[in-house]
Symmetry: C2
Subunit: 232 residues, 2 copies
DNA sequence: CCCGTTGCATGATTTAAATCAAGTCCGCCG
DNA sequence: CGGCGGACTTGATTTAAATCATGCAACGGG
């Protein structure tokens, strides 16, 4: 396991796995810790939803197939992120999750989560909060796709990653980009070429520095200014 | 009240208001039925989330302000739809809801919903399911915005409304369009002009018939074919 | 170590939709 | 009834991003 590992304390599901402070009996909410190799699927679109997941180490992409071989990438997962919650409506995963690198993932069977939610009110509240949080995030992303230019989309994407790494205690200014340019494009509604052009432009302005598989944000203020300016 | 009214039986929140079949005691989950005039706000973006809502009659738009006077319209609400769930993460509404016409809306205070969820397991499950359903829907909408052309967006929008009216027992082929062209555009990431051109084009092909404030879908198959074809 | 593949960058051209600009239709109110 | 304003349509032009095309650089397997 070379990927950064997340402490349970800063995991999105922490209050779900450990609902009763100090009570060790609930640690077994997590039935298994799965290891995934790069490219392996954590769950498949259309498959019955057997569990919800928390990323312990590594990064993944969550994507929705468009029925014609293409994929829209709904979000990227960092350590501590929850996954598979969008299947809680119909019992079937509408999306799939694929490891961008070697990963370690905690798995809470759906049934176990439901039993916990019935027994412990805070668990139900945490679950609702997690799903609602992803809903709010998805709505913001829709707004980004509907109304904002390429430069702004890329700037917000970088700042979003920066903030999330920061929240996890890692550098907000310098992090790996484990996804391909084409995958950034599939997330932002742009082509690979457009993503590449915008990144090159940012670099030529001195706002970022690109190295293989990683990025340094050199001027957060300029990026924020770029990201904040609406189209009209 | 001129707008069509929804029977509680086909409301998204039915199993939340009436969790125990035959037990009348839970009917008071709904604390109030509010009336809204066209243009009135049901809740405001940034306001503390005091309640969740179910539309009983009329239609509304749910929109996210973009910080520069513009709005992205997240979804339109029909009778029986739930609203305000995206505030369950942070306790603050990230979006606002505005009546497109005179409306009647059921209101369940947040605290009451939480008490019910604690007391009755199915209520918690219904709540999770409602939020997860909106999450899945929002993700699909993101994919639409990211990857699909104007004609396809409009076709899907019309078919989505058609399906939803159908589910409610009304005509799938003919319904009112209470929102402005510009509002359809704000929902689909298009300008008013583009929406108008696409609708005119559909009409000239004989796929739809537009009348003031309403639409008839004349060729669902052609619309479906248009909506299903991905960009690549 | 070389070569083929894969990911990325960048230039030229095309295109879909935005923008700019009239003009029409209708409901409303004086 | 008649003029006004808001909603919508339609046309001309511009523009941002897609598409098409090419080249480069790093990596990995033989």
């Amino acid at each position: 396991m070379t990927a950064l590992q997340m402490a349970c304390g800063s995991c999105a599901m922490h209050r779900l796995c450990h609902p009763l402070t100090g009570a060790e009996g609930w640690l077994d909410a997590v039935q298994a810790r799965r290891r995934l190799e790069r490219g392996q699927k954590l769950f498949r679109a259309g498959a019955p939803q057997a569990a919800i997941f928390a990323v312990r180490a590594g990064t993944l992409k969550v994507s929705a197939p468009d029925g014609a071989g293409g994929h829209f990438i709904v979000r990227f997962l960092l350590p501590g992120d929850a996954a598979g919650l969008d299947g809680l409506a119909g019992g079937v995963h509408p999306t799939e999750a694929v490891a961008l690198e070697d990963c370690q993932v905690c798995e809470i069977p759906r049934v176990r989560a439901e039993i916990l939610a019935e027994g412990i009110p805070t668990v139900g509240a945490v679950l609702r909060s997690l799903i609602a949080s992803q809903l709010a995030g998805s709505q913001v992303h829709s707004a980004l796709l509907a109304r904002h230019a390429a430069g702004e989309r890329v700037a917000r994407f970088l700042l979003d990653l920066s903030r999330r790494w920061d929240e996890r205690g890692y550098s907000a200014a310098s992090f790996r980009l484990p996804m391909l340019r084409s995958e950034i494009g599939e997330h932002l509604g742009l082509t690979m070429e457009s993503v590449s052009r915008v990144l090159s432009d940012f670099q030529s302005r001195g706002w970022i520095r690109l190295t293989r598989g990683a990025i340094a944000l050199l001027d957060l203020d300029q990026l924020r200014a770029c990201a904040a300016i609406p189209l009209r």
